[in-house]
């Protein structure tokens, strides 16, 4: 159907006004287009400049590739790593908020599956409330076949699912391998908490933000070890630069056959384990 040319359409009545509007729209369009172009090209051009050290003048993330090793055969379950992590990073000192934690696996004679508990277990809280700082001795009269501790933490995956699901770009993988959270962009939706196959993230109820292990990014970028590695009294936790062939982690990877947790998830962790069992995930 043809529109009726004779009908008085709004906007048709004043030809002069219409021309003005068109000129304005064209001008606005061109301005917007050039702004958009500039915003796309700007960062690209800036990259062409001489590179400055990032993120700090003394630390260039392009030069490092961090990795983390955990030797479960050495862990004595003293939980000093958990305590140090909480002190270092201001994590709530209760039984339910952790950036790193330790699990106990106990295989009892005649039972098919191991019994697993961590410091968030009611029995352990009972002997160490309020800060859940020790394991209880509940198995002293049981017939234990095999038992060990497994320290757990963020695996700083190469394919992190938490980063994939974040709707605001508040969590990301740095060039040196850490997965970090930008607290001011996090909206507290907890999607990432759900997405992590390792349960490594927790929700900070005070700040209303997702929180997680950063490998103590503020320490490693100053040449120090993460706090948990710093305090481990038995060397169960190993950290270093995988680019440096003589670093503790390179030696750890060279001297041992390492596992990662849940390889079937395809997350490609950069936390490597030795001395864990088939039931550990």
């Amino acid at each position: 159907m043809q529109p009726d040319e004779s009908a008085p359409l709004p906007g048709r009545q004043d030809e002069q006004k219409s021309a003005d509007r068109r000129r304005f729209l064209a001008g606005a369009g061109a301005a917007c287009a050039s702004a958009a172009l500039a915003s796309v090209l700007g960062p690209t051009l800036a990259l062409g400049e001489t590179r400055v050290s990032f993120p700090t003048p003394d630390y260039d993330w392009e030069k490092h590739n961090w990795g983390y090793g955990i030797d479960a055969t050495k862990c004595i379950g003293c939980l000093r790593c958990v305590d140090a992590c909480k002190n270092e990073n201001g994590v709530a000192k209760d039984a339910h908020h952790f950036r790193t934690w330790v699990e106990r696996y106990v295989y009892i004679e005649g039972e098919k599956h191991p019994r697993i508990d961590s410091q968030a277990d009611p029995g352990n809280i009972a002997v160490s409330a309020p800060d859940a700082s020790r394991f209880d001795d509940r198995y002293k009269d049981a017939k234990v076949e095999k038992a060990f501790f497994v320290p757990k933490m963020c695996n700083h995956c190469q394919e992190p699912s938490c980063v994939q699901v974040c709707p605001t770009g508040a969590t990301y993988k740095t060039k040196d391998g850490a997965v970090l959270v930008d607290k001011s962009y996090c909206i507290g939706c907890q999607y990432c908490v759900q997405a992590c196959p390792y349960g490594a993230r927790y929700f900070n109820d005070v700040e209303r933000r997702a929180d997680k292990c950063t490998w103590c990014y503020h320490r490693i970028s100053k040449g120090m070890n993460p706090a948990c590695v710093e305090v481990c009294p038995v060397g169960a936790r190993v950290f270093g630069d995988m680019n440096d062939k003589s670093s503790p982690i390179s030696r750890f990877l060279k001297d041992n056959r390492v596992f990662v947790l849940k390889p079937e998830m395809g997350n490609k962790p950069t936390c490597f384990y030795i001395g864990i069992d088939k039931e550990v995930s």
């Binding site: 529109p3 915003s39 990032f54 993120p55 004595i76 000093r80 002190n87 501790f149 740095t174 305090v231």
Partner: protein, 186 residues
């Protein structure tokens, strides 16, 4: 081209341009610099002050304690495990006239402190004989032992504080802390 199509196309182009430029305007500069995140947040995270300073820091002022500790059985047990994070110790950042003290565990405290690591516990690996292996604490191959010596606290100490017989900075050989021995006498 019919006029209404032209109008529609102009409208679409203009809205697109508006949307793109609004996004450019509202997105902070450093977003997208390295990826889908705000690059400026990395230096902000890196700027946090470390709380744990390491034993080398203590050595400057407590050289005697450090020397004793580093040549004895607890040399892998860092000072700050027992004394808490040093932060700005001994200086109080808020008040230059005051000192920021680190906790000094009391005799009573040592009963809980020492048993964190030395209480006999299922899953806790026992002390192995020494073997030559890579020692991450030392940074080279060294006589390395795994596990930890464990005691049944009540049987071992007879209810006394660990500090009565062991110096935490030199746990072996044992020495007796007189005032605690006296206090333990009936």
């Amino acid at each position: 081209m019919p006029k209404h199509i032209l109008r529609l196309s102009v409208l679409i182009v203009v809205s697109l341009a508006l949307a793109v430029s609004a996004k450019a305007y509202f997105t902070v500069d450093s977003f997208y610099r390295y990826g889908h995140y705000r690059a400026d947040s990395v230096p902000m995270i890196a700027a946090q002050e470390p709380a744990y300073r390491g034993p080398a820091y203590c050595a400057d002022c407590h050289s005697d304690r450090h020397g004793q500790w580093s040549s004895n059985g607890h040399k892998t047990v860092k000072c700050e495990i027992c004394h808490g994070p040093a932060r700005t110790h001994p200086f109080d950042p808020n008040d230059p006239d005051k000192t920021f003290k680190l906790p000094r565990p009391t005799a009573e405290d040592t009963r809980t402190l020492c048993t964190l690591c030395h209480m006999q516990l299922t899953a806790r690996p026992l002390r192995d004989p020494p073997q030559q292996a890579w020692d991450p604490a030392v940074g080279k191959s060294a006589p390395w032992r795994t596990g930890i010596s464990q005691v049944l606290p009540d049987e071992h100490s007879g209810g006394s504080a660990c500090l009565m017989c062991h110096d935490p900075h030199q746990p072996k050989p044992i020495r007796f802390k007189e005032e605690l021995v006296q206090a333990a006498q009936p």
